[in-house]
Amino acid sequence: MNPTPESPSTPLGASRIAESGRAFSGPDQPSMALIDACVHCGFCLPSCPTYVLWQEEMDTPRGRVYLMKAGLEGRAEMTPTFVSHFDACLGCMACVTACPSGVQYGPLIEKTRAQIERHYERPFGERMFRSMLFSVLPYPSRLRLAMAPLVIFGPILRALERSGALNVLPRRLRSLIALAPQPTLNSLTASTPEHTPALGPPRMKAGILTGCVQRLAFAGVNQATIDVLAAEGCTVEAPSAQGCCGALALHAGNIDQARELAKRNIEVFEKADVDRVVVNAAGCGSSMKEYGELFHDDPAWAARARAFSESVRDVSEVLMELGEPRATRHPIKARVVYHDACHLAHAQGVRAQPRALLAAIPGIELFSPAEAEICCGSAGIYNLVQPEPAAQLGDRKARNIAALQPDFIATGNPGCILQIAAAGRRLGHDWKIVHPIELIDRSIKGSGVI
C-alpha cells in the first residue's frame, strides 16, 4: 500500500501521522475484505445520527471505516481520539440501509469495539461504570435486585433528576436515573409460563426469548407475545433456563461475554426443539440472527450457531409468516405513531411487517414520524455511556413524534421505549408507549383503547 505523501511538516509537527503503530492486534479484527467494499461515496452521511449532530467526517460511517482501514494498515494507533469516534457510533446500522455498495458495517463495528475493549484502557470512572453495567444487565437475578428500589423510589428519583437537584452527580448516573424503567412488584416477580398450548390446531412450535430488561420491566410484553402467538396457533415454549442473548455485550464490544451468553441460549433452544425462536426486542433479535457470524471461526459452534440464527424471527415476522390471521381483530380507535427501532429496521430490514400488522387493526390510524430512519439515541447502552448525543437525538425524535399528536407510540424495542419516554417527559408529554404486540393482543382480546 502506497503511503500517503506526507504533508509538509508544520511548526507544530501536528501532521506527522503515526505509521509504526497498528491499532488492532490479535483475534477478532475488523475484516479488510469487508472494508474494501467501501468506495467512499458518502451516501451514508445523511442518515448517520452523529453526522446529523456534528457534521464531522470522523463521526460518519465512511470516516469510521476509513479509520478502521488506517488501524489495519498501521496509519493509526488506538489512541483516545481513535476510540472516541467508535464510542460515538450508535451502531444503529442506518448506514447499512443507505449503502449502495453493501458494506457490512455491523461486523466491522462489532470487531472494532471488541478490539477496543480488549486493548484499550479506559479512564477509571468509565471502566467502573461499564463494568457495573455488564455485570448486572445480562443477569436477570442481579438486575432484579438492582431494579427493586425503583418500584418505590423510581418516580421520586426521576422527579429529582428532572428538577436538577441531582446535578452534582456525574452525567452518566443522572442519565441512568432519567432512563430507568418503572417496574412494579408484579413485573419483577412475574414468571413466564414455560409452556403455552396453541389455540386450535397448532401450526408452529415457537420458542420465545424472555429477555432481561423486557422480562423485568415489561413483563406484559412477554405475556402479550405468548398470548398472541398462541391465539394464532403456535405452541409457545419459554424455557426458564435461557438467559441474556448477549446483545448489549456484543454491541458494546464485550465479544467474549457475548459468546458465553450465546452458547447457553443456543443449547437451551436446541433442547426446546422449536421451529422458530421468536424475539420481541429488536436488539436481541438482531444479535441472535448474527450468532452464526459470532462463531464463524469456532469449528465447534459454527454450524450450530448458524442453524440457530436461521431460526430466529422477530414476532412481527413470524405473525406475517403464519399467513391468514386466525383470531379476529377487534377495533382500537387510536392515532398510533410507529417508531422504527434501528435494530429492527436497519439491522434486520423489518419495516413493513409491524406496520402491516398494526394497519390490520380496524380503527388504528398509523403514522411514521419525520426522520424515521434516524436513531432515537437508545442504541443499546449508548444512552448510558454517551448521554449528551443520546439526549439530543432523543429530543429530536420526540419532537418529530410530538408533531403527530399520538395516542400511542408503538415500537419493538424496550430500549427505545425507555429513551422515547424520557425524551417525551422532557417535552412535557406522558406518552403511552407500547410494543406493537401489546396493541395486537388488546385487539384480539377486545379490550379496546385503554
Binding site: 500500500m1 500517503t4 501532521s15 474494501d36 467494499a37 467512499h40 461515496c41 457534521q55 476509513y66 449502495p100
Partner: protein, 483 residues
Amino acid sequence: MIDDQLIGELRHRCGNDAVLTEPLELLTYECDGLPHLRQTPPLVVLPSSAEQVQDVVRLCHRHDVPFVARGHGSGLSGGAMPIPGGVVIGLARLNRVLDVDIPNRRVTVEPGVTNLEITRQVAPYGFYYAPDPSSQQVCSIGGNVAENSGGAHCLKYGFTVHHVLGVEVVLSNGDMMHLDSAIADAPGPDLVGLLIGSEGTLGIVTKVTVRILRRAEAVQTLLAAYDNIPSAGAAVSEIIAAGIIPAAVEIMDGVSLIAVEAAVHPNFPPAEAILIVELDGPVAEVREQFAQVEAICHRAGATTVEVAKTEEHRARIWKGRKGAFASMGRVTPNYYVQDGVVPRTKLPEVLDRIRKLEARCGLRIGNVFHAGDGNLHPLICYDEKIAGQADLAAAVGGEILQYCIEAGGSLTGEHGIGADKAEYMPKMFSDDDLDVMLTVRRAFDPKGLCNPGKVFPTPRLCGEVPGPYRAHPIEKAGLGERF
C-alpha cells in the same frame, strides 16, 4: 504558513470544536468521493455561518495560506482534495434552509444543504428542485454550484446554472459579494454563470437562491431491455429524430447491471443493455409522445419493455440507475468512475473503442450513460492491492477521455475537472484558451489561494497531480527512470 498564531485565531473566531488538528481526524478529510486521490490536510476548519467563513478566508488571506472548500465530500473529481499546506474549509455546518418562497418559486439555502433536502422542503407544495445528480441525498448544493451538476433529468431541464437565481459568495480576500439577488436580469457580465462550474476556484459560496419547478402533471417511465447497446442507442436516435425531448434517457450495460442487481435489487429484466426513458409534462402531451416512444423501443428490437404503472415501480427503476456507481463496490474492490462527453451521434463508435480497450487492458469496464446528451460514465474496475492496477485504471480513464476529445466531445460532463483531470485540459483547450481562463481567475483571486492546483494544470512535471504515485508517461514508455 499555517502556524500556531493562525490556528489560535481560527479557534477564537469559530470555536475550539470547529478547528481540527489531530492527525487521526485530519486523515478522514484527505479525499472526497474519489479516494484514489488523497492528500492529508494540515488543518480543517468547520465554520457555522457565512460570517465565520469570511473570517476564516480573511485569516487565510492574511497568512497567505491556500484553502479548499468542502461540502459533504461526495465529489468525483477530487475537487475537495486538500491542498498541500492548505486549509480545508468544511461547509457541512452551513446547513440551514433560509427561505422557502413558494409564490415566487424560489428557495434560499446555505451551501451545506443537500440537493434532495431542497426538494423535500417544497414537495408538500407540489414543487421540486430539478437538477438531480445520483448522489442527491448527500451532495451539497454548494458542491452542485461548484461543479454545475446535472443529473439524469438535465437533458430536458438543464444544469445547476439554469436553476440558480443568485448567490452570496466570499472572495479570496474575505470580501462578501451578493450576485443577482434572486431577481432576474442584473445588468452586466453574468458573473453567477461564470461562478457556477468554477469548481471552488473563484470563491466560496455561502448562500444560494435556486428556482423550483412545479411538478409535471404526468410522468411516464419505461424500461426497455436489449441484447446489445447499439440497439438501445438506435432507439434513442429515433426518439430524438421524432422531435421528442424526454426528461431522461439512460442506458446501462451488462457489467453495471450485474452490480446493481446485487446491490439494490431493482429487479431489472435480464439484458445486455437496459434503456430507461422518462417523459414528463402535461398529460395529453405525455400520453401522445409516450406511445411513440414505446413503439420506437419495440421497433429497435427490445426483448422486453416494462412500463412503470406505479410510483413504486418508477422509484425502483431509478433506484437501480442511481445506485449504479456505488453498486460497483460489490463486484470489484475498487473502481474508477470516469466522466466524458461525446456528441450523441458519436456514442456508438466511442463505445466500440471502449470495448476494444477493455479487451486490451484486461480490466472490466461497466458502462452507464446519459444517452440523450452523450455523457458517458465508464466504470473501470480494478484492485489497488495488485501492483500497477491503480495506475492502469487511471491510464485507461485517460485513454477514454482521449476518445471523447477525438470525437469532438468534452473531458467532463458533470463531475468536473478537479484534481483528476487538470493534466488533460491542454487536450481540449489551447494555451491561449487556458491563459485567458487563468487571467479571469487572477482577477478574482490575485494571490492564488482559492483551491489552487485544481482545474488547470500546474506547472509541475507535465501537469502531474498529487495523489498516489503515478508513473510519468516517459517512464511508462520505458524511456526514462525516476530517481
